[in-house]
Amino acid sequence: MSSIRFENVTKKFKYVTAVDGISFEIKHGEFVVMLGPTGAGKTTTLKLTAGIYKPDSGTIYFDDEPVNDLHPALRDVAFVFQNYILYPNMSVYDNLAFPLRSKIRKVNKDDVDKIVREIARLLHIDHLLSRGTDRLSGGEQQRVALGRALVRKPRVFLMDEPLSNLDAKLREEMRTELKRIHNELNETFFFVTHDYTEAFSMADRIIVLNHGKIEQIGTPDEIYEKPASLFVASFVSSPPLNVFEVEKRGEEFLITSLDERIRIGYPNISSLPPKFTVAIRPEDLRFSSNKNGDEIFEFPMEIYVIEDLGTFSVITLKYKNLILRQKSLGMPNIMVGDKVWISADGPIFLFDPHDGRRLL
């Protein structure tokens, strides 16, 4: 296994800069997930790591050794794609053994057998070894594809949304499985996804990428508790984050779209710019049918939609053009049309309205 380091790496295509001067490091044996929306530059970053693309500027290191000019075949990386391709007329065993039987590797027959069986056991497909790959379920096929990458013991594993073609139940199972496999093997995993739940559940650290630039690097807890930007905070929120614009008028703060006051309990108010963006996570919002004195707004909101989702509920609240969402475990005792008062129990994030960086 190896460490990977990007130093000011840029990759341009004809009309776009896909990756724009990014720097990060993945340590030996670390499980790092790059998270971002479609078009953020995630796959380009993986392909740069694999050597499929060459950077226009900047340097990529494997174990402190520059690899910009190293041929992809010599980088010794394994790449798992979203659309895995198995050899249809071969058994699971032969699919797994295939990379080991290549002429460059010269692995002897007994060792091939040993490795194939060990990896099959790890992936819980040891009972399928003699089966044809056309007779496997989607999840089993994805395991074989993973297995084929694992048998080679490459320096790093690169995975490009390998779970996104699986249905919801299987995806859940496989993400736990992958994390367990990583714990057991302790190899370097570099995984790319647009699904924040997937990133949170597996990653040691997450790199959030947007428009080819890194928004934040941190552990899942850091990303969630201390988002560096409005983009990061909204990207990791379900239901959508509550966001609205606020401006200073004298000693007061007004919600721009409503011209109504908001009470924000931050001590150092004088340091705030004249306009900023407020964000409150849905689970940090509270409502009550009576005024308690800790309301953040001077107006009540109307219960607009109630969704009981089983484990938790999502309540949509409305006042004029302001829509907020509240999430909690269990089911509050309210009805659509009820008027409620809003308070916050948790951090209220403030962001710069221009560049989206967090102010507080």
């Binding site: 249905d167 736990t176 994390k179 559940s201 899942p220 009981d308 989702l309």
Partner: protein, 380 residues
């Protein structure tokens, strides 16, 4: 009463079958579905791919002919009527708007095709577009709207005729995650306001939980359970439903019933504490069964009571954590809020919320505690 004027219909499916021949093989896609959708109700057909939900919807729409059985709308047998004659609207996953027409022109299209007068059309189109909050986009072209707004235009176009019923086939699944969440809430509000009889197909259990008055869970062409979302969530008919609903699904543990106790490794549960089910349990034989419990109904014990387990993995998901634990011979998942601190390797004792325990037959997979309840799958 709003502009809708309360137009709706009830839909009855009687022993509906669809058998295909594909490459010489006989495929039973739908196997004897009986379902009564009431006036103004929103029913969700939920299941994994291949469960027959879309085929069922297509038979209701008249796009597919049943092999056996009948479809009734407002008591009238419409099995032999064409899709057009049934006066039902549908919206699909891909909304297929006319790209060369403005949003307004897209919405008025079905009315123009019916030859309505201009005044009636413009009034109706404005009503529907206001209702869906898309009037501001009237002069735009579909390609200039985000995917959620495009789907709303498709919905406006479908309901502008005031059809008797509304069928939707995975209408949110092409939208990205954020847009999907708020469009889902808006759909729910829309249904509350116009109360049109709606049948909605999805594989997403969250969507079903959110939107449905009743959920119909399907698997391999057959109905597994029909019920209110909360009922399906708390009292699943069988292991399939228990696992399919919920994320993650219900935990299953093999236990032995020995007199008054359920035994799970070093954890002994007194069945008398399952008060609601005491009568069923007292009539039950001893032996092996499957205990089901949802991850949020497992708590950490702060005494020496409970089941001794080891924490295996912790998945921090922001709002909550999913914690995988290992017993001596089995494993499971529990759910905690983000502030609870657990790490792999920790040895803890856990307790089940006794009232939330469900028991299943290890052979058939059916919920043993539901035996006394009337099956809601009614055949009229």
């Amino acid at each position: 009463m709003n502009f809708w004027g309360g137009i709706m219909a009830d839909i009855l499916l009687k022993d509906l079958w669809k058998i295909f021949k594909s490459r010489g093989e006989v495929v039973e896609a739908v196997k004897g579905i009986n379902l009564h959708v009431m006036n103004g109700e929103l029913v969700v057909l939920l299941g994994p791919s291949g469960c027959g939900k879309t085929t069922t919807l297509r038979m209701i729409a008249g796009l597919e002919k049943p092999t056996f059985g009948s479809v009734f709308i407002d008591g009238e047998n419409v099995t032999k009527l064409t899709a057009r004659q049934r006066d039902i609207a549908f919206v699909f996953q891909s909304y297929a708007l006319y790209p060369h027409l403005t949003v307004y022109q897209n919405v008025e299209f079905p009315l123009k095709a019916q030859g309505m007068s201009k005044d009636v059309i413009s009034k109706r189109v404005k009503e529907v577009m206001d209702f869906l909050g898309i009037w501001e986009f009237k002069d735009k072209y579909p390609s200039n709207l985000d995917s959620g707004a495009q789907q709303k235009v498709a919905i406006a176009r479908a309901i502008v005729r005031k059809p008797k019923a509304f069928l939707l086939d995975e209408p949110l699944s092409n939208l990205d995650a954020k847009v999907r969440e708020y469009t889902r809430a808006e759909l729910k509000r829309l249904h509350m306001d116009i109360n049109i009889t709606t049948i909605y197909v999805t594989h997403d259990q969250i969507e079903a939980m959110s939107l449905a008055d009743r959920i119909v869970v399907m698997k391999l062409g057959e109905i597994q359970q029909v019920g209110k979302p909360r009922e399906v969530y708390e009292n699943p008919n069988n292991l399939f439903v228990a696992n399919f609903i919920g994320s993650p699904g219900m935990n299953f543990f093999r236990v032995v019933k020995d007199g008054n106790y359920l035994i799970l490794e070093d954890y002994r549960i007194n069945v008398n504490e399952l008060k609601k089910y005491r009568r069923i349990l007292s009539g039950m034989n001893d032996g092996e069964m499957i205990l089901g419990i949802r991850p949020e109904y497992i708590k950490l014990s702060n005494s020496r009571n409970g089941w001794q387990v080891k924490i295996d993995l912790v998945e921090p998901l922001g709002f909550e954590k999913i914690v995988d634990f290992l017993g001596k011979r089995t494993s499971g998942k529990l759910r905690t809020l983000k502030r609870v601190n657990l790490k792999p390797g920790d040895e803890v004792r856990i307790l089940f919320d006794i009232e939330k325990i469900r028991l299943f037959d290890p052979k058939t997979g059916w919920n043993l505690l539901r035996m006394d309840q009337v099956d809601e799958v009614k055949v009229s």
